[in-house]
Amino acid sequence: MMDRIAALGRLGFDIVATVGRAGYFLGGALAGVPKPAVGFPLLVRQLYSVGVLSLAIVVVSGLFIGMVLGLQGYTILSDYGSEAAVGQMIALTLVRELGPVVTALLFAGRAGSALTAEIGLMKATEQLSSMEMMGVDPLRRVIAPRLWAGFIAMPILAVIFSVVGIWGGMLVSVDWLGVFEGAFWGNMQSSVSFVDDVLNGVVKTVVFGFVCTWIAVFQGYDCVPTSAGISSATTKTVVYSSLAVLGLDFVLTAVMFGNF
């Protein structure tokens, strides 16, 4: 019995210690930005692998999600004879919710897991400690560019997702199902506000990008340097990121659109 209580206490301390390490790690990585001449090429390479390589999955998912929204919205709204409102529905759903959330989930699965595995393997093969031996701070050289690349890439991916989704929704509802195009855009423009909807959506993506990249990079940096450790760190990245995104989404939505 006492053993169990002690184990519970140890677990609690472990969790708090992990959070502390994560905060310390974030501070170190954010403060230790390399000099522009060294850091910029590193950042560009990471933007390429985190952002550009995630573009394909984001565009394809956005297209299909937009098309599904168009189909579903048309089916429901045509019962009430107001299928012209489908444009408004697609745009608001994508810009406020699905764009940021689905992109963040895809980002965690596509880019976050890769970051964790890469950094975890660097740790397991002692590349990080040999960098320290050479007097190169791995937080600066390896972590900071990846972290910043994630922060920058995620909002870009999410707005591309929304635009492609709206285009996909238009393809289905206007070109295939015959919603009048003027009403489609007109309803959308009269109900979507740039500041309230689009910019709030972008704020969400910035928060999600921050959280997802932080979790991914920290899990890699903090993993047990064995093959089993890397595999469990990669799993944790995807699970924690998804939970964090969905939980934070509720909080952010309540703050932004809750009217209290």
């Binding site: 090429p41 707005v159 635009v163 109900s191 740039f194 689009v198």
Partner: protein
């Protein structure tokens, strides 16, 4: 891959993001650079504004000529006072025109429609509409009908 190629592709990616924001701003939320500024203000008092809210449409013969800027309660008359921003180039609204709240479609948004009068004088900036017609309240209509009033 060569650093140069990576840089170019990443640059294209960033530009695509910027273009996507522009599309969201101009095409999706209808934010047009020219719409700000050149408007003048008119007021209309309603007994019941229904679903009219700021940014709502103000139309004349179905054509959008402005937007609702604010909806406040006039504490003396207990009426709703709606501030309308009318496009500056529509400066010849006859003084005896009336503001009517209509609904676009059966479930659509409510908007303010300006019914044209016949007066030679036109409304000046800051004027109020002389006659208004409030939102049609379907529930009240049915209640009145059922109780035979």
């Amino acid at each position: 891959m060569a650093q140069r190629t990576t840089e170019i592709i990443t640059g294209l990616f960033m530009i695509a993001g910027l273009a996507a924001v522009l599309v969201l701003a101009l095409q999706v939320s209808g934010l047009s650079p020219k719409s700000a500024g050149d408007t003048y203000t008119l007021y209309a008092n309603f007994n019941d504004v229904g679903g009219i809210s700021p940014r709502g449409k103000v139309a004349m013969a179905g054509v959008k000529v402005g937007s609702v800027r604010s909806v406040t309660l006039d504490k003396e008359t207990f009426q709703a006072r709606v501030e309308l921003a009318i496009d500056a180039d529509v400066d010849n609204i006859p003084a005896d025109s009336s503001a009517v709240i209509r609904t676009s479609g059966i479930l659509g948004d409510q908007y303010i429609d300006i019914s044209i009068g016949g007066d030679m004088e036109s409304l000046n900036p800051g004027d109020s509409f002389y006659s208004t017609q409030s939102a049609m309240n379907l529930e009240r209509l049915i209640t009145n009908f059922a109780s035979g009033k």
